[in-house]
């Protein structure tokens, strides 16, 4: 019997993104606001975050401050790896729940539960499949990731490499993995360097929204879109022109609005004590339906709520999604 949330309780909640100022996290904020209104929470929903330059130290600082302020729950898109653990544990001890979303705490220590946008293994498979589609099942491709420290990207790349071992992908070779540090300029230059370094390159797979547009623009600018395609994870609004002109025929993403919404519900329920946050808890998350807490198969430890699914965008649906 799934648990339903009691409306109108007073829960102070903090939504803590990797950093402020970019679209996906703002969308998640919108989803959380939607849930906040729906649940008639008498408490406050705060949206605070660090700057991109100071992300790790900033997240730790905000986590510590939230505990000091006696907030009830921090919803964290973790950019700090396990460096956040001591402060998250301290927060838990002080009575502040820590729910992660988008990007978990790798060791799961100090984390109550992780709201996963999709199954990380699935992302690997989908990326492999998109590559397979675009390349016609054979040839060389390379990965352009964010930073070497980006935990999600690393997990997705690992999952993709596992998927590539399958029979279906036998004629595809992953020749290189490079990092554009989630900055347009670096990503753009790295993409071109990949092209020069690997004469037979057919695809650049960029599991990061900054990387994928930069790579697409680079291929377009150098007139390479016919030979080398771009794919990965991207925001439809940013990708629409490249999908329509064939530079990036296919890419995937999930809804950050929904992710924010679901994270809010999960956190609210845990903070109000409606669910303890253990494996097996089942609950109702408003318009999104029923979810449950399960063990996270993509990490050595930790639990997750799996949102899913995600959408693969192509020329047929990207324009509608970009609106």
């Amino acid at each position: 019997e799934p648990v339903t949330a009691t409306k109108g309780e007073s829960v102070n909640m903090v939504l803590l993104p990797k950093f402020l100022g970019i679209l996906p996290f703002d969308q998640a904020h919108r989803g959380a606001q939607e849930a906040h209104a729906e649940l008639e929470n008498k408490g406050e929903l705060l949206y605070v975050g660090p700057t991109p330059e100071n992300s790790v130290a900033g997240q730790i600082e905000i986590m510590t401050t939230a505990a000091t302020q006696g907030q009830d729950v921090v919803m964290l898109s973790n950019n700090s790896g396990d460096q956040i653990v001591p402060s998250a544990q301290a927060a838990q001890e002080a009575g502040t729940k820590v729910v992660t979303w988008d990007s978990p705490i790798p060791s799961a220590e100090g984390e109550t539960v992780f709201v996963a946008q999709v199954d990380f293994n699935d992302i690997g498979v989908v990326m492999a499949d998109m590559a397979h589609n675009i390349m016609g099942g054979e040839g060389e491709f390379a990965i352009l990731s964010a930073t070497p420290d980006a935990a999600n990207q690393n997990a997705w790349i690992a999952a993709m490499e596992r998927a590539l071992e399958g029979e279906k992908y036998a004629n595809m070779t992953l020749v290189d993995t490079v990092y554009g540090d989630d900055q347009s300029e670096l990503s753009y230059n790295r993409a071109l360097a990949l092209v020069d370094k690997h004469a037979n390159l057919k695809l650049i797979m960029a599991p990061t929204s900054v990387g994928i547009v930069s790579a697409a623009k680079a291929m377009q600018d150098e007139g390479l879109c016919d030979e080398i395609k771009v794919s990965g994870l991207g925001v439809p609004a940013e990708m629409v022109s490249y999908t329509m002109n064939g530079c990036a025929p296919e890419f995937a993403l999930w809804s950050f609005v929904d992710l924010g919404y679901l994270t809010y519900y999960t956190s609210y329920l845990i903070a109000t004590g409606a669910i303890p946050g253990n494996v097996g808890d089942e609950f109702e998350a408003g318009r999104m339906g029923t979810f449950s807490i399960e063990e996270d198969p993509t990490r050595d430890a930790g639990n997750r709520v799996l949102m899913g699914p995600f959408t693969v965008y192509n020329a047929d649906n990207v324009e509608a999604a970009a609106q």
């Binding site: 402020l20 991109p52 490079v178 020069d196 370094k197 930069s214 609004a237 022109s241």
Partner: protein, 350 residues
């Protein structure tokens, strides 16, 4: 020893040493990377140099006056975003108006720096460390987490990076690169020919003496910041055209990159000396090293930065030592001529 050394200006010597180092670096990578000496490589590097060169030239103007502008990265981001926003709202604006708007915006931000440094007498590093944060804050607040996307930009902007002015064989001279080179040429001519521009050197060389010589040092410093802002604004426009997708992190880190290009290019960080040719060579040197390392098969992704740091260090050291050696050679030659009685005595003999 050769006679020409004696007549060579020290700045020329400096540039020569730097050019030699650059040549060595290119020769080295040529032996390591297949298809290195190709038009494609030229196009890659020329286009990637274009943005940072504009910023570095502005930075050089400021550094020559014994100041520093750490806010250039934020100015680039700010103008890129605002001009993008303007273009989304009014896609039919004439390109020249757009460029003018970008430069005006940059100039305005540079003016704030300049006012505070020159007339507020606040050290440049403090002012621009402050505005580095402030301009970025303004951008974040203004943008409200929206980003500019390629899809909403006019076609001519999106296509600008691939626009080619003319080609020599396969060598494309892209418009963006031509803009940067054009600016470099204009500034070079100004710095060597324009009387007013020489005051930048005077002020940076000895601010006290400048005041006493009747130079309006405040105005000179203010102007340098204006120009740096204007060039960062122009770079912001090129940035917008090149990457299309502008978020609040646009231009992050350009401040240190431009300072690196400027000091590698032989501009004295304590003011008073430096040439545009040096800056062009310095920018190119750093960029060639960076771009070559990413294409060097032997080097794994994780080794790149360590090598980049070491190569910059070695290049600058080589430049320093070579420069010092040439200078010593020059002086020694002068003295041996002196004692042989073939050179004019440098001083009064009665």
């Amino acid at each position: 020893m050769t006679g020409w050394l004696q007549s060579v200006h020290p700045q020329t010597l400096r540039v020569t040493a730097l050019a030699l180092v650059l040549a060595l670096v290119i020769l080295f990578f040529g032996s390591q990377i297949d298809n290195y000496y190709t038009a494609r490589m030229f196009n890659r590097i020329s286009t990637s140099v274009a943005i940072i060169l504009l910023i570095a030239i502005g930075q050089a103007l400021v550094v020559i006056t014994r100041n520093i502008d750490l806010s250039v990265g934020s100015i680039v981001g700010f103008t890129a975003y605002l001009v993008g926003d303007l273009l989304v709202a009014q896609p039919d604006l004439h390109p020249l108006v757009v460029v003018a708007a970008a430069m005006a915006l940059g100039t305005a931000l540079g003016a704030v720096n300049g006012l505070l440094v020159a007339y507020g007498r606040v050290p440049a590093i403090i002012v621009t460390l402050g505005t580095l944060a402030l301009y970025r804050t303004l951008l974040v607040e203004y943008s409200d987490a929206r980003s500019i996307t390629t899809a909403n930009l006019p076609k001519w902007v999106v296509e600008l990076p691939q626009a080619t002015l003319f080609s020599i064989g396969n060598l494309d001279i892209r418009v963006t690169f031509a803009i940067a080179l054009g600016v470099a040429l204009v500034v070079h001519l100004a710095l060597t020919r324009l009387r007013a521009a020489r005051r930048l050197y005077a002020v940076g060389s000895n601010p006290d003496a400048a005041a006493i010589a009747g130079i309006n040092a405040e105005r000179v410093v203010f102007t340098a910041f204006l120009l740096s802002g204007a060039l960062a604004g122009l770079a912001g426009f090129v940035f917008l055209a090149r990457f299309g997708n502008i978020t609040v992190v646009a231009g992050l880190g350009f401040e240190l990159k431009s300072v690196a290009a400027v000091v590698v290019g032989g501009v004295n960080i304590f003011g008073g000396s430096g040439t545009v040719i040096g800056v062009v060579l310095g920018t190119t040197l750093v960029d060639v090293i960076d771009n070559s390392l990413t294409r060097w098969a032997l080097v794994s992704e994780f080794w790149r930065d360590a090598l980049l740091g070491m190569l910059i260090l070695i290049a600058v050291a080589a430049d320093t030592l070579m420069n010092r050696y040439l200078d010593r050679l020059r002086r020694r030659r002068h003295m041996s001529e002196l004692s042989a009685g073939t050179a004019p005595l440098p001083r009064e003999t009665g």
